[in-house]
């Protein structure tokens, strides 16, 4: 550890690490970092995040909408949401690696576990909040239960449902950062293996991870605006 770093100088070093490969004293002359490796790790992080989020959506969204529609299982969902928040991500990834194995196939479901509670509970709450009179009107118009969920409840619940998806995405992309512990080389590799990449690499990893998370959140916020019907926007403003 160097004794003293002026903060700005370290950030300069980190940006240099992202742009051009640096020599490392542990890889035997092979250069590390640079734009191409940063892009490769960033894409891997996005890939595992997208896969895990998709898996969580497939499991949790239909179930949450259905339970919300029927109004059942609230106590169970509250418990699940609380337990989900208390799951230590580091232990989850470490256990998956130690007990089941490493690689994309094991890490994806592990990350999906973190995304399921927020999607499930928000879908439930979103549908429950829909005015019962609206649902009765839809039923009176002769809509089937499935049509009511798809054409009435889901559109009205979009802001809440998307809130859950955003929460899930934040949790998954954050935990994807420690996925290198289970053999999936994401940007966290720069952070965790500081002995290879050095302090510049570690800070570079932190900057890139923060940017990716903020970009993902921004993208989903944009998507939420697009998906929310104009009528709902009027009401919330």
């Amino acid at each position: 550890m160097s004794a003293f770093h002026p903060p700005l100088a370290s950030f300069g070093g980190a940006i240099e690490f992202i742009l051009t490969p640096q020599s490392s004293n542990v890889t035997g002359g092979e250069e590390v970092g640079g734009f191409s490796q940063a892009m490769e790790l960033a894409l891997k992080q996005l890939e595992v995040t997208a896969l895990a989020l998709a898996l969580a959506l497939i499991v949790a969204l239909p179930l949450g909408l259905y339970l919300g529609h029927r109004g059942k299982g609230e106590a169970l969902l509250v418990g699940l949401a609380n337990a989900g928040r208390a799951v230590p991500e580091l232990a989850l990834i470490a256990l998956v690696a130690a007990l089941i194995g490493v690689g994309l196939v094991t890490v994806t479901p592990a990350l999906a576990i973190l995304g399921i509670p927020p999607i499930l509970t928000n879908a439930f709450v979103g549908v429950r909040q829909v005015d019962r009179a609206t649902v009765d009107a839809a039923r009176g118009m002769g809509m089937s239960e499935l049509e009511i969920i798809r054409k009435v409840e889901l559109p009205l619940a979009v802001p809440t449902v998307m809130g859950g998806i955003r929460g899930a995405a934040i949790a998954i992309v954050a935990t994807a950062t420690i996925a290198p512990l289970a053999g999936v080389e994401t940007l966290g590799d720069f952070i965790i293996n500081a002995s290879i990449y050095g302090e510049d690499g570690r800070l570079a990893g932190a900057i890139l991870v923060a940017l990716i998370a903020l970009a993902l959140e921004g993208l989903l916020a944009l998507l939420q605006r697009r998906l929310t019907s104009d009528g709902l926007k009027l009401k919330t403003v």
């Binding site: 989850l92 923060a210 998370a213 903020l214 959140e217």
Partner: protein, 247 residues
């Protein structure tokens, strides 16, 4: 002799653990595939004491700091209305940055150790506490405000004696959510050298030793539930009128 070399490589974090694991007397050495080694757990449960205390200290300090800042921000936004949205966005950014990245973004400024961890964990709690406090204040019935005004309360008195007490359930609800996630995320503080239960997961050798990981995870989740129960009790004690209505 080779033990000594490996120990040196392991560094000081998990050296003590490594010594145990590599000794010939390791209880489950004959059954390395075992998921949970009860013999080891029985003999080594005491090693979780200090990390548990460190973990709890870190969480409590972060929550106190987070509550203080978020509460101040909420009071500010309550007075200066146009600040509400920008403050929500700013706390949202802090919430979105993954903690592990945040640790190392702060490293050049605050260095390794517990202070950095506490700042990051507190920053993570801001949005939820701030938002819930705002919701709580917004949900105060206008009739309650008007009654207070009619009794001759000043704006400040209305805030502290009417609005904030009525907002306690929402504020504590936010604090409970923040507490649950902070207990879990504090395990990552091991990366910034702040100790805590993360050391029993990521300390050298531990990463491939499920027994230690499982015990640490169980302590983390129990701590989260216990803290949640404490906060729920606080909520009940500070809002006696709710019980009166229910009873």
């Amino acid at each position: 002799m080779s033990n000594q070399l490996l120990l040196a490589a392991a560094g000081d974090v998990g050296g003590d653990f490594f010594r145990q694991r590599s000794s010939d007397t390791l209880p489950c050495q004959s059954r390395p595939d075992e998921v949970f080694c009860f013999d080891w757990a029985r003999d080594n449960i005491d090693r979780f004491g200090t990390p548990t205390v460190q973990h709890l200290e870190m969480v409590v300090l972060s929550l106190v700091l987070g509550l203080a800042i978020a509460f101040a921000l909420a009071l500010l936004a309550h007075r200066v209305r146009w600040l509400q949205t920008p403050l929500l966005a700013a706390t949202g950014v802090l919430y979105t940055i993954p903690s592990i990245a945040f640790f190392f973004l702060l490293l050049p400024i605050t260095g390794l150790g517990r202070d950095t961890a506490i700042v990051v964990l507190a920053a993570y709690t801001l949005q939820i506490i701030y938002r819930n406090t705002m919701v709580g204040l917004a949900n105060v019935p206008e009739s309650a405000r008007e009654a207070a005004r009619g009794m001759g309360f000043t704006d400040r008195q209305i805030l502290w004696r009417v609005e904030l007490p009525l907002a306690i359930p929402e504020i504590v609800a936010g604090l409970r959510i923040a507490a649950l996630s902070t207990v879990a995320i504090a395990t990552l503080a091991v990366f910034i050298g702040a100790g805590g239960l993360g050391t029993q997961i990521y300390g050298s050798g531990n990463l491939t030793f499920p027994t230690s990981i499982l015990i640490a995870a169980a302590i983390v989740m129990s701590m989260a539930l216990a803290l949640d129960a404490v906060l729920l009790t606080v909520q009940r004690l500070t809002t006696p009128w709710r019980r009166a209505r229910a009873g």
